[in-house]
Symmetry: C2
Subunit: 160 residues, 2 copies
DNA sequence: GTATGACCTCAAGTACACTTGAGGTCAAAT
DNA sequence: ATTTGACCTCAAGTGTACTTGAGGTCATAC
């Protein structure tokens, strides 16, 4: 409608949905991956009369969050949970995204704290060179304590 | 030899190597995974006359670091790099581990900073609810700026 | 009206990180 | 000597996260 020279379709008003190609270019995620995410229910699309996908704009955000999660090593299953009550089929409200933001933030905090703990411990190790010494508490799960039973395994606690 | 009642073998002096079962129990990593890591050259073992693996004690550390890396979503290929000049076949020196510690620390720093940046941005988003609004800089790679060319893609910068 | 590029589905393939299974050996205890 | 549990190799299977390809449709431009 508006005379314009975008690549795909004439540029749309801010409420018009995006084609899969547009989504892909804007998020940097391959169309095939978008198909895949949709098959998992992480994102959703409507279809045109001719069966082509159209994405509401708020899907950009979802896709971006998926990308971020991937960078942090968060599996898609967990991402699904983080999106738990952000509506998929209609534009989410402020409150929806706020709740989700908080959830993401908590997740990030947990990860950051894990890293920070490790950094502190490694810093100690750099000082004393103890990654090669018995004294280091971090990566020494039982060297001199081995015969004393169930104890050691310092490194496996935090999944629970 | 020493009369003792450990599960595998009588408890060994602090310099004796470990069986794969002992490694597995102490690190929490399955024997099959240890085989696999060995096939990738991430760890190494000597063999007994009867072709069974024996692990030097410093391998515990390597395995633990691999485990940590996995928790952080670091791929094994990168782990290999982080171990670049920690000797595999002989006990690493102080300096070897110090260099490695520093490398690990830098890696952790990078990850933490990525997370922190994201946290800051998300905190802003929680305040304003803007995960659903155009004003948010974080997850809004080009909503209103789309037709202006190559620009957006805020979320893909830091791989390089 | 026809060519071109973007899109569709579905099946199969790929890469990573392992696990499982079959078939057989090793080693400590009885 | 024989049993038992730990170990060996090698091949194939699993789960996650996609990509690639074949064969065909849609939509816009000329």
């Amino acid at each position: 409608m508006s005379a314009d020279t975008d690549t795909d379709r004439g540029v749309h008003g801010p409420d018009e949905p995006l084609t899969i190609g547009e989504m892909s270019r804007r998020t940097g995620v391959a169309p095939s991956a978008l198909h895949f995410y949709e098959s998992l229910g992480l994102i959703a699309s409507t279809r045109t009369a001719g069966n082509q996908r159209r994405y509401a704009r708020h899907m950009l955000r979802r896709v971006s969050l998926i990308t971020v999660a991937k960078r942090l090593g968060i599996p898609l299953a967990d991402v699904q949970h983080a999106f738990a009550d952000v509506p998929l089929t209609q534009t989410p409200s402020h409150e929806d995204w706020q709740r989700a933001s908080r959830r993401w933030k908590r997740e990030l905090e947990k990860r950051r704290e894990g890293i920070e703990r490790l950094e502190r411990e490694l810093t100690g190790c750099i000082g004393c060179g103890c990654l090669s010494m018995k004294a280091c508490g971090l990566l020494n799960p039982g060297d001199t304590l081995s015969s004393q039973g169930a104890g050691p395994q310092r490194l496996r606690d935090e999944d629970a």
